[in-house]
């Protein structure tokens, strides 16, 4: 039997840089890597993303008109080791999932581990935010995958 309804998603990558640099790139440097045009609520209208790297900081995107759309909130910020944030891009912030990023120094650089969890909470908002999913992240993700395929 499964231990949870939907298991956490776990990812791990090794990066050839220091944990400090990895952490800074992930947070302050998010616009250097986050595929905003396709991984955002506004799609091509989204101009930048922001991670306020402090506990209670916001994670949001900014549209060309200057409107901000909240993706989540930083729950724990322990640079350069750990970042935990709630995650509800385009959806009801009262029932977020949760993402934890760990940065660990290795001989070759930094091991970055990601865990996206609390999927059971997603169900609570799934129906009401179906439209957001369709028009937002899902649609843009699909478009992106078509673009790079």
């Amino acid at each position: 039997m499964m231990e949870t309804t939907v298991a956490p998603v776990r990812k791990q990558i090794d990066i050839s840089c220091t944990p400090e640099h990895a952490f800074a790139t992930f947070t302050d440097g998010i616009n250097d890597w986050w595929p905003l045009a396709v991984h955002s609520i506004g799609g091509t209208d989204a101009t930048r993303a922001v991670i306020e790297a402090r506990s209670g900081g916001r994670i949001y995107e900014v549209s060309s008109a200057g409107d901000e759309s909240l993706w989540g909130t930083v729950l724990e910020c322990d640079p350069p080791n750990r970042l935990v944030f709630s995650w509800h891009p385009g959806t009801d912030p009262s029932t977020p999932t949760e993402v934890e990023i760990r940065f660990e120094a290795t001989d070759a650089g930094t091991r970055v581990e990601l865990e996206h969890r609390n999927w059971d909470r997603l169900g609570a908002r799934a129906a009401s935010t179906r439209e957001s999913y369709d028009s937002g992240w899902v649609g843009v993700l699909a478009a992106y995958e078509r673009a790079v395929a």
Binding site: M1, M2, T25, H116, L122, R130
Partner: protein, 109 residues
């Protein structure tokens, strides 16, 4: 191939009663009567929820004797996970490239 979001699964989970049913099914197949007990909704309502969950692919059912037993469709639930999985693969790949492309620096900008 594009990994599509499992919208039907998401929708099916978007209801407290149905999530309670999912919780009960985690430990194994249950009959409608077993699922109904203590749920706080009418038995026809439970059946209606189960029908929707079955249509969404969240559960499967099979008759045992005179009763119908429901169980979680783990394959479909795995699609939800696969979708998120794919999402982070893309983002992290770009993150790695950015971190390795930018010169390391001691202080934040």
């Amino acid at each position: 191939m594009v990994t599509k979001a499992p919208d039907k699964i998401l929708d099916a989970l978007g209801d407290g009663t149905r999530r309670a049913i999912v919780e009960r099914l985690r430990s194994g197949p249950r009959s409608v009567a077993q699922l109904h007990a203590g749920l706080g909704v009418s038995r026809p309502a439970v059946s209606k929820h189960l029908r929707l969950m079955k249509e969404a692919g969240l559960v499967t059912d099979r008759p045992i004797g005179t009763q119908r037993f429901y169980q979680l469709n783990l394959e479909e639930l795995a699609k939800l996970q696969a979708w998120v999985d794919r999402f982070w693969d893309t983002a992290l790949d770009r993150f790695k490239k950015a971190a390795e492309a930018r010169p390391p620096r001691k202080e934040k900008s």
